[in-house]
Amino acid sequence: MTSIRRDILIGIICLALAAALPLAMPGRYVITQSTLFFIWAIVVVQWNLVLGIGGIFSLAQMALFATGAYATAMLGFYWKVPMLAAIPMAGVVAVAVGMLIGLACLRLRGPYVALLTLAIAQVMYVLIVNDTDCFTTVGGCMPLFGGVRGIGQFGDIGLRALFPSKWYVAHYYAGLALLAVAVTISIVVIRGPLGLAFRALRDNPDYAMSRGISRFKYQLWIFAVSAFFTGIAGGFYAIHFRVVGPTVFSFSTLLFLIAMIVIGGLGSIWGPLLGAAVLMLADEGMRELSDYRNIGLGLLLAVFVIAWPNGLNGWLQRSRTSRN
């Protein structure tokens, strides 16, 4: 079985299982948590493109997610753009921001990229939180980006109106559809010529460049591709929670997501999804011990990087090859 066929098979099985979940477990809590899982999985799958396939150590993914969420909310709040149009527009805004970040990182190497992207995310957070001047006074004083309280009341995609009692199930399927598209894109990128170019640039940049692979072009491509769906996931997050605040920049979210990628397996196709699923379940399991959540996450992250740097995916692959 070729690897692409295997990917399609795994994808279809996962999709079928996920589509059947609301029938098997109709509880509202399970459904909303799964929707949140879809949102994080989209971000993680796209982040993996930059981090794992591109080998670019960018920590800006949550900033791009926030860009998408804020763009959606602000388009709806200030210009009354319908949400169905605002979310793709937010994706485009995220692409623009992502390409700018990609440009800024172009001449940098490894750890400098991490620090620069962390600094960019921090600037955005500080600017949003520290802005207390009123931009509009409609319905109380509100700064341009909503300040500490964030932005609310920017409209809806209409699923709540369409399915008044079952809107969360509708959101579940919407999230699942977005995730399916995001994963498909990621498979196409990883298995296709783009992915080959990214991996070549990651593994031996000088040799790849001497064979005519333009680092400039491909680095911008990878930032643009991964920013688009991350921005859309941000928009969907905004709709789902009906409010966007500076908490999306929080360090514990960043830790949570990076742990998903590392535990699942950096640079693999299904690893990040697996990691996201495992961590969401583990998070549910640790709900009773919520005080210890970040301690547990930090320990898991460190132990996995040190002991199993290829994550669960690498472990699965090793056990499969040893069986054959």
Binding site: A104, P111, L115, L116, I295, L299, L301
Partner: protein, 292 residues
């Protein structure tokens, strides 16, 4: 004139604190190529240990400072033996250690949150009183911080320049393989550097908390600033880092006065972004040319 003195006084204090926090980071990056994301947590831990030693154990302040430095040096050693040593044997050390230290930092930070609670605590190791220069009142605490920082920097400079340990550290950061071939025990150098960096972080944590307050998350901000200083100076360049730290401290004090406190951090970060785009290897860093 008074304003200028005020800005210089607070800028130098800030710069001195950043410099002490930065030296450790820069040494570690220089010799191991390791960005220690747990630095902020270690720095905070230093502040809390000092607090606990004075308030709960009743030690005198000098001993408390020593205890904090010792505990944080041990944490540095622990990071070496538990994280850096195994990761050095595998591929992708730079990325992996970065992620691993994010995890370790989160563990330390949340343990402090459990142990000491989320509420700000004043640092007991602080001097009262003030000195007056041309109508400007400067707290004695700031003068002490500046003094301790200068003593520490001179000590580190002597260690690096005049002792065989320092020579081994410098040799390792210049060329790891060559140093190893010349008989430098690189593993020992790494352990020494991480312990030294932990101790320096503890002292800077005590300094920072004596001006502000102790909270479990207070390390994040100084750590980001220390990284900024490192990056502006060129990662691993220790002397450049001291100059950049003081320059950045002065700049921060000036922007705080001109633009107000809430914009100063954003201005600093924007400046760093521009520096990195203009000079990707930092102001004092040399561009590395790799031949195939």
């Amino acid at each position: 004139m008074d304003v200028v003195i005020q800005i210089i006084a607070s800028g130098l204090t800030l710069g001195a604190m950043y410099a002490v926090a930065t030296i450790g980071l820069s040494l570690v990056y220089g010799s191991l190529n390791m960005l220690n994301m747990a630095h902020g947590a270690i720095l905070t831990l230093g502040g809390y240990i000092c607090y606990a030693a004075i308030v709960h154990a009743g030690l005198n302040p000098a001993l408390a400072l020593l205890a904090a430095a010792l505990v944080c040096a041990l944490v540095g050693l622990l990071i070496y033996f538990c994280a850096a040593l195994p990761l050095l044997r595998a591929e992708n050390f730079e990325t992996n250690i970065f992620i691993a230290t994010i995890g370790i930092g989160s563990v330390i930070e949340n343990l402090m949150l459990k142990g000491f609670g989320p509420y700000p605590i004043p640092q007991p190791l602080a001097a009262g009183g003030q000195v007056v220069i041309c109508n400007v009142h400067i707290p004695l605490q700031n003068v002490f911080i500046l003094g301790v920082a200068i003593v520490l920097m001179v000590a580190v400079a002597i260690l690096l320049q005049r002792t065989s340990t320092g020579r081994a550290i410098r040799a390792t950061s210049m060329n790891r393989e060559a140093a190893q071939l010349m008989g430098v025990r690189v593993g020992r150098v790494y352990a020494q550097v991480l312990a030294l960096s932990g101790a320096l972080a503890a002292v800077s944590g005590i300094m920072i908390s004596s001006i502000a307050t102790l909270t479990p998350v207070m390390g994040g901000d100084p750590m980001l600033k220390a990284f900024i200083v490192c990056v502006v100076a060129g990662l691993g360049n220790v002397y450049g880092a001291v100059i950049a730290a003081i320059a950045l401290g002065l700049l921060e004090a000036a922007t705080q006065y001109v633009l107000g406190v809430r914009w100063s951090f954003a201005t600093l970060l924007l400046l760093v972004i521009l520096v990195l785009i203009w000079r990707p290897y930092g102001l004092f860093g040399k561009q590395q040319v790799v031949r195939l």
